[in-house]
Symmetry: D2
Subunit: 341 residues, 4 copies
């Protein structure tokens, strides 16, 4: 069998672990050939690829990034790809394509699959917001990085008697904010799933100060937003050339708190630190299992599906099911955290 | 409501996170009183306890160990306890006992529950071998520590052209060896669940050397054992006073390999490093959720059960079910790892 | 002997290690009494203090923050303190005061010393900019945190083909930027000690892109500034209420690069993460040695001086010498780094 | 100029950082050619080498191990090398050799230098025991790893009420034990520089137990040894084939304590974990500076010397001076630690 593999979308710890696992399983057990397309779907469309053997994947298990490169998909090029899906498979002589990526990548995978290309998907997102799988690799690493940062910020916030607003990743789903906030013991958590009222944040901080705890750490998902009309500060600031500069919710909320509390409140935007570097053991294991099962599925002819964690098992689920709805934080998980506004 | 809490058995990262979570939920939401018994069941039997309020659990979320102390249970004292279970509850004025512990602790919890003491259990083991729950807190930390150690050992094994046998925890179940071995890319994994033949390990190492890879890292659970009669070295060594000194399987296997390969093979026994210190974010979240659900169960009168992770949910399962059978590594998980002998 | 100790100024990993070391040495070896003033000089002036014995400093060696609390000094209160320096010593019955702090704290210490209070200083700054000592504790931890963040950002910058500008601490001296930039292999470093020309940064990035390296990480000290007139962006942005909002050099430089390169450039402001949390082993050792030597000096009557690292030795140097001039990055250290603009 | 570089002796975090720095400085600034000999002096003698350009050293700054491989030197081959030193230089067309290694490597370097080969040495040892330099790279990483392990062991020792004897590296000099013991707050430290009496260790533990602290962590350098005749246990144990098996001082001392205290005492042998993996920021900076200065020295014709850290400066010192005497822990450093027996 000849297997094509590609990585698309943003950086995510564990990508290399999947690639390595696919190559190990395919080459060692089945005697397959594996080729890797460069820079995501772009490499597939442009025919840029190279063979991957055991030596190529030596020492990459713990490495951040992706040895294949990645790129964001252009929609019109995708359409083109779908029209030529079967030709492409023939051209590169691949029996199956294993795209590793997030929602966009998997939607494209589904379209290619519908167009006749045998596809086995592997879901990837640090945001953990893909339906049909309990967890995605990269998420645990992101939560770990955010937690360690807040562990450090807490001692500083305390000794400086200061309010800190820590913005973590999560545009549409608040999983990173929820779990890192819980793990670090953040005093407040704001999620995209539930609009918050800054007045509640103010009340919490004031209650803490009244109890003699003269600091607070608030963990905010980048996609969190206030109840309509409840907050003065928005996302805009004007730079000196008159261009509007986007200002994240972390910064806006810190300004708002400072204004309302009459106390210093500092925004800390963790940003891309959360999505790079060495994956945690958890993510390496999950990524390795996903790669292994993708090759198994390929050999069973189990196409049009993707790997998914369910409880302790890795199963195959239809791509269609995975990409229809985003997996957001449900109410009962918010209740458990207690500090969600 | 008045809640008694205790921690029993060996050290496990996340114990303090459970205690903190129980106190937070009970005191803040329900206005309960919480008392903590010292040194496990010993404190219950001797009446050594102290009240726990919010201040007592400040800053302990990321702390290893247990602020309540722990001890191993003595069987005869347990019998005594069961005979006086209802009296004890009355004496301390507790409406429910939340014991946090491993198999022994939960078995005792079940006996106390059968004897009429309202009990809600919280499972704890770094070995991840308790049935009825997908994972236990402490396990992720142990796997992380073992993985980081093997990450470091790999560069050294490579530059010294050496075989290294790393012994990790897991007396009856090989979960830590399986997951840390996968995460670190160990070249061989030995588990308690499947007797291994040292000849297979030798063959693997020789095949690597033949390919020019002049090193190997083998990850062995402390409870792994060879196929009957396949190995010359056993667990014994004699110290200079003629006392037999136990020698773990890691050491024995390293000696065996050295003898058979005619090459240096070094044992590395990770030991208790795996069970101490700051818990990972994953373990803190799981421990916090377990504590939260234990308090909920207590208020629902849902006694004789323990918290359990199933998929993404935390549920309550009967103590009876949890302690009847050890959760060991099934064959399909070994297959995924590929390097299990 | 009765020793007073206080911590003043910003958070710095290692403060607790000094306090612990002072108590250990003073109590165990000399049978001294130690009292700790709360919240820096404020506690001294207000008479808020508590005795510190061995139990009080148990388990704090690796803890971030300061168990004594800290505060910034108010100048008028300092004058008041100096006028009453000898009375204060008598009032609290202290034979010596050991203030642990940065430049401001040590200047105050010198004034109190001149006013007749026996003082032994311990220098503290994550910025490493105090003269007369080779290094200060806290610096190694800050460099470690910044390096780890850039390690992670590099894989992300590479897979996203993006320019990243990482702003690290260092208002007047660029030590953190220099060493973390070197340790992480940043492609460019900007220091307060040498105005940079953004045109040089642009040239470096373009040269990299020309070589096929489609990303760059630039490490900028918060106190770095451009050659007069060389940069369009400044420190100002206007929020929606018309208030000017300070915008650090990292953000300004990222905007500037984006504008000139026509490519996305992202600022990452590491901020207070650098000054909180568990100190590295290096910082714990240095802090412990400083505390030990401070007590020795106190017993020798070696007042008006502070501890200092010189080579491998800890010596006492005059406070006067330590606070006259800031220790900045000299030209030869910039040359070694090569990537300093 | 054509520069040959090689790494010899045991693994040491920072080796790749030196290689990278040599190549960067030599190629970028001077337009030199750099070749790397494989597997230490063996590659030099066998003529196995490859050119190293900027791409070859991309991404290796934070990588453990050495991309050039290493090996222990054989004495007779060294003699051979010295006899042909000048011929070899001619054969490979190198103008200077930069060997990176420990005491043995530098002694060989000195002999080659005396034999007429232009040599600039770079010292390397995790043990920090090379004279003439304040510190060597690799040491900080080793201390960090040992400290983190003891941080974890402390919570476990405490909750299990157990004595733990942690053996760290350091055959002839106790720097790692001294600094990691101080950083982790070990209750006792044993160094090769000063024979210890196990009776003193016993007394310390008993004194702790009497104070209610029912655990202790003792940090022992592998080269520590008891006062003659003071200890029952030695280094021997007999395996089941009658072979004597070496048993380190950590194991022997744990047995001894167990026997004398009548309490469980566990040995933990950290071993090679201390010498592998990613270097700390400190070690990366020092290694990078050493590489830079080695190239500078080569261009100045400053041969027969090696790089050395003195205070904050990197200088060149005669190889002769560096290898005559081992740098051991002096008495005043032991005094500072207080817990050294």
């Amino acid at each position: 069998m000849r297997i094509g593999v590609l990585t698309a979308g943003g950086d995510c710890p564990g990508l290399n672990a999947v690639i390595r696992s696919v190559v190990h399983r395919a080459v060692t057990t089945f005697g397959d050939e594996v080729i890797g397309f460069e820079d995501g779907y772009a490499g597939l469309l442009d025919g840029r690829y190279r063979t991957l053997d055991l030596n190529d994947v030596g020492g990459i298990l713990a490495l951040g990034g992706t040895i294949l490169g990645s790129s964001r998909l252009q929609r019109d090029r995708l359409r083109e790809a779908c029209e030529n899906a079967q030709d492409m498979a023939r051209e590169f002589g691949i029996d199956v394509l294993i795209p590793i990526g997030g929602e966009g990548t998997l939607t494209a995978a589904r379209m290619l699959s519908d167009a006749g290309l045998p596809v086995v998907g592997v879901p990837k997102t640090i945001d953990n917001d893909i339906s049909s799988t309990d967890r995605t690799f990269g998420f645990d690493t992101a939560v770990g990085v955010a937690t360690e940062a807040m562990d450090r910020l807490k001692t500083t916030a305390e000794s400086h008697q200061r309010v800190m607003v820590v913005e973590v990743m999560g545009r549409h789903a608040g999983w990173i904010a929820l779990e890192s906030g819980m793990a670090a013991g953040a005093h407040g958590i704001c999620l995209p799933e539930r609009p918050f009222d800054p007045a509640d944040v103010v009340a919490m901080v004031e209650e803490r100060f009244a109890r003699g705890k003269k600091f607070a750490v608030i963990c905010v998902a980048e996609g969190a937003h206030p109840v309509e009309g409840s907050m003065d500060y928005g996302h805009g600031a004007i730079d000196q050339f008159g261009h509007e500069r986007f200002q994240g919710i972390g910064t806006a909320l810190a300004y708002e708190l400072e204004r309302r509390l009459g106390k210093e409140a500092k925004p800390v935007i963790l940003g891309h630190v959360q999505r790079g570097g060495t994956p945690t053991a958890y993510d390496r294991v999950l990524a390795t299992r996903f790669g292994w099962h993708a090759v198994e599925a390929a050999h069973r002819g189990d196409f049009g599906r993707m790997t998914a964690l369910r409880g302790t098992d890795v199963l195959m689920v239809p791509l269609a099911e995975a990409v229809t709805e985003l997996k957001t934080v449900p109410k009962d998980r918010m209740d458990e955290a207690e500090s969600v506004f």
